[in-house]
């Protein structure tokens, strides 16, 4: 029958209208009150798919990446960064600028004196975080960065970039746990190695002692022989 296709299509539209209406009235009086509501969109979401930013926000997964941050140890206050320069070399936008620090004799030391990320040109690719061998640069989740001036507000210096390990642990619980685990294993392995070395040293000492005794005994023997 002519028109049946259109009716079928209208049925689809009607279904969408009702599901999104039902979804909306669920949160009476209003979905958008309160501000900063975090909306979780489960896999069985029906109805409203739009999120009313900024009153509502999405949940961000752990791997979410925006612009980089630099991590320092919350306890000691020491930077993790050793100024190896890998992140600056791998960055596709070439927006990382590092000045390596020097000791008083002019020898380079593994610390950065200046560290800039021009976040206006940063493309948020995350390669710097991926290739940093010291887990020192990671991607921040903060995405509300607008300012009025491009220079210098959007060129982040070390102070702007630095965050403590506690912040990192909170943002990246899984990665943090893995990192702790790796550190623990490493420490354990180190201790084991130390113990093994100590045991070996002991054994060596004992063996040497024994050899000396034997030697002494043999000498004694030979001297009595004479």
């Amino acid at each position: 029958m002519f028109g049946s296709g259109i009716l079928k299509g209208l049925g689809v539209t009607l279904k969408h209208i009702t599901t999104s209406y039902l979804d909306d009235v669920k949160s009476i009086p209003t979905r958008y009150a309160g501000g900063n509501t975090i909306i979780r969109q489960p896999m069985n979401e029906e109805g409203l798919f739009t999120i009313q930013y900024p009153e509502e926000r999405r949940v961000l997964p752990e791997r979410f990446r925006y612009v980089p941050m630099l991590i320092y140890d919350a306890e000691t206050g020491k930077d993790r960064c050793t100024a190896c320069g890998i992140c600056a070399k791998v960055c596709p936008a070439q927006c990382i600028w590092i000045v390596r620090d020097q000791n008083p004799d002019g020898k380079p030391i593994p610390e950065s004196r200046e560290f800039y990320v021009d976040i206006a040109t940063c493309m948020g690719c995350g390669l710097c975080a991926e290739f940093c061998p010291f887990d020192s640069i990671k991607m921040n989740h903060d995405y509300e960065l607008s300012t009025f001036k491009r220079y210098p507000d959007l060129v982040y210096d070390k102070e702007m970039l630095s965050v403590p390990t506690t912040y990192y642990a909170q943002l990246y619980p899984q990665a943090w746990a893995e990192e702790q685990e790796r550190a623990r294993q490493k420490a354990e392995a180190k201790q084991k190695r130390a113990e093994a070395a100590a045991a070996r040293a002991k054994a060596k000492e004992a063996a040497a002692k024994k050899a000396a005794q034997i030697k002494a005994a043999a000498q004694k023997q030979s001297s009595t022989d004479v």
Binding site: F2, G3, S4, G5, I6, K8, G9, G11, V12, T13, H16, Q41, M43, N44, E45, F49, P61, R63, F64, R65, A83, G85, I86, A88, K89, V90, C91, P92, Q94, I96, W97, I98, V99, R100, P108, E114, Y116, D118, M123, G124, C125, G126, L127, E130, F131, M139, Y151, V155
Partner: protein, 583 residues
């Protein structure tokens, strides 16, 4: 056979007799053909050998070639495939000298060369004799210079290759604008006089032949659509000749989004290009990554990709395809005048797919997920569970819903049936690929014709539609998305454990000197990467064969003779993304 290099004789014993006059050498498996024999060889390949699909035409500047003294400065490489037999390509190249680079155009034999040759003229300054319309295509007609030449320095040029030395260890920040003040980064023609300079003539007759169309008693007018028209899918400009409401000719102005992706790619290291490929077709960044890493892996013989990574790549690529096809249908509805509401129905599932991408890679659209030798991150069990739920329940339901909304809808039928017909012969000749080619009944899908990655392990059908019109291309996308769901079900079922990355590669990989063209079946068609390596950490030549760009070749043929409102739908049915067209 005299004068033909031994390697060529060995590789192509049967052909050589016919072609020995034309071939002057061989380089990395590519024949070097005399310029004046180029057409003859192309014709021979097409008519006698069945290589009917000219996939890729790319220019190369040999300025830094190791044997620069012996080779001519410019060359153009052609990659031919056979749509019937499938399999690997045959490549030929022809060279042109530096002073007056001219080559014969292949447009009379392969109309698909049209846009690609124009692009080479634009970016390399190689002229093609016999080309019907050799104008600049991506850059403005008044542009001075040819930016892909190796000695051309772009604005804010800093160094030949990245990483730049100024960043480390003495990286005191200097803004790009202060580093290269304005005027120091411009090139002017000799004796340039701004007072008397005249802008070039860029308004032209709309070119197609409209003899066959019945003459109406109306004036012929030219209407400019875009670059800001909401239905042009981005900043694309169509210049349409009209008689009444009937389209009599159509010309495209491209390049509003041009960034010279390829020049940036040649400055970058191989790794740095991965996030840049995200920005080609920004709807389908996963498949762009996929194509690029496959292309580079082809040049790295030792790299082995772990099983789990192969599966994850296929899963991401097929999720992308399903999502892209739904998206294309949604925006086709937009073009038909069903503004926004139904197209949002089509992209609800996309939201959930993007959530999955974000969980896996950290970003919804600019995924930057694949690496040489694997993928960047593993996914956990929860992710797999969500993906299974999506693939088994939601996606099939969404496709059913789309079909209920459209497939038998009388308005849809009236607007799309017999609109924008493209014959199978034309579809091949214009170099179209993907749903456009298969919608014209040509059974050519790279996943079947030359299976890459692990596509040969999955059970899925090669979909074709015979109609060749907008409706056929719509059906094509729905049915192909269903096949993607089929592949996804198998891949998620079989997903093995294990690592997702082999031996971690350094951030700067060196690739042995070689060249290769690699293509994959991206959602929009054949996405190809032509890479020439010279053994350094940066590609010597990096060329993207973008499916949207080449598919646009066929737009004028499809649109002429239809009403102007149909031209918009026809454009929508090609499914273009300007990030990829303009690069």
């Amino acid at each position: 056979m005299s004068g033909t290099p031994e390697a060529v004789v060995k590789k192509f014993p049967h052909w050589i007799e016919k072609m020995s006059e034309a071939i002057v050498g061989e380089e990395d498996g590519v024949w070097i053909v005399k310029p004046n024999a180029l057409r003859a060889v192309a014709k021979y390949l097409k008519e006698k050998k069945g290589y009917d699909f000219l996939a890729n035409v790319a220019g190369v500047d040999n300025l830094l070639h190791p044997n620069r003294k012996e080779v001519d400065r410019f060359e153009v490489v052609y990659h031919f495939y056979s749509t019937e037999r499938g399999g690997d390509y045959i490549a030929i190249k022809a060279r042109a000298n530096a002073e007056n680079p001219v080559l014969p155009s292949l447009v009379p034999i392969f109309p698909t060369a049209d846009f690609q040759e124009r692009e080479i003229w634009d970016l390399y300054g190689i002229k093609f004799t016999g080309h019907p319309n050799l104008r600049r295509i991506l850059l403005w007609d008044g542009f001075f210079g040819h930016p892909m030449r190796k000695d051309y320095h772009e604005a804010y040029y800093e160094e030949e290759h990245r990483p730049y030395n100024s960043r480390y260890p003495e990286g005191h920040y200097v803004s790009q604008e202060d580093r290269t003040p304005w005027k120091n980064n411009l090139v002017f023609p000799n004796a340039f006089d701004p007072e008397h300079w005249q802008a070039p003539e860029i308004y032209y007759e709309v070119g197609q032949d409209f003899k066959n169309i019945e003459k109406l008693k109306t004036d012929r007018i030219v209407v400019n659509i875009g670059p800001q028209h909401p239905s042009t899918h981005g900043v694309l400009r169509m210049i349409v000749g009209l008689e009444g409401e009937t389209v009599t000719g159509l010309e495209l102005e491209l390049g509003y989004l041009h960034r010279n992706h390829e020049k940036i790619g040649e400055r970058n290291t191989y790794l740095m290009n991965i996030p840049f490929t995200d920005r080609l077709d920004y709807i389908t960044s996963m498949t762009n990554n996929f194509g690029y890493v496959l292309a580079v892996e082809k040049l790295m013989p030792k790299v082995v990709v772990p099983e789990r990574a192969e599966y994850l790549r296929v899963i991401m690529a097929e999720l992308t395809r399903a999502m892209n096809h739904l998206f294309a249908i949604g925006f086709l509805l937009n073009d038909m005048g069903a503004f926004y509401t139904p197209s949002l129905y089509a992209i609800e599932e996309r939201e959930l797919i993007l959530d999955l991408f974000e969980m896996a890679s950290g970003s919804r659209m600019m995924c930057n997920y694949m690496r040489f030798g694997g993928v960047a991150h593993d996914v956990d069990e929860n992710w797999v569970k969500l993906a299974i739920e999506l693939v088994h329940n939601r996606l099939p339901r969404a496709l059913d819903e789309m079909e209920a909304l459209l497939t038998t809808n009388e308005i849809m039928l009236a607007r799309t049936k017999n609109v924008g017909y493209l014959s199978p012969k034309d579809a091949i000749a214009y170099g179209t690929s993907g749903p456009v080619l298969r919608g014209s009944g040509v059974p050519y899908d790279i996943r079947k014709a030359e299976p890459y990655s692990i596509y040969d392990r999955f059970d899925f059908d090669l979909i074709t539609e015979e109609g060749g019109d907008v409706y056929a291309r719509y059906m094509m996308r729905i049915r192909e998305a269903r096949e993607s769901v089929r592949i996804l079900k198998q891949a998620l079922r079989d997903l093995p454990g294990g690592p997702v990355m082999g031996k971690p590669l350094p951030y700067m990989v060196k690739i042995p000197a070689n060249e290769a063209y690699t293509h994959i079946e991206a959602p929009k068609g054949e996405l190809g990467f032509y890479i020439v390596s010279d053994g350094t950490p940066n590609p010597y030549r990096y060329h993207v064969r973008a499916p949207s760009f080449v598919n646009l070749n066929s737009l004028a043929t499809m649109a002429v003779g239809h009403k102007i409102a149909d031209a918009i739908i026809i454009l929508g049915s090609i499914d273009i993304v300007l990030g990829e067209v303009d690069r």
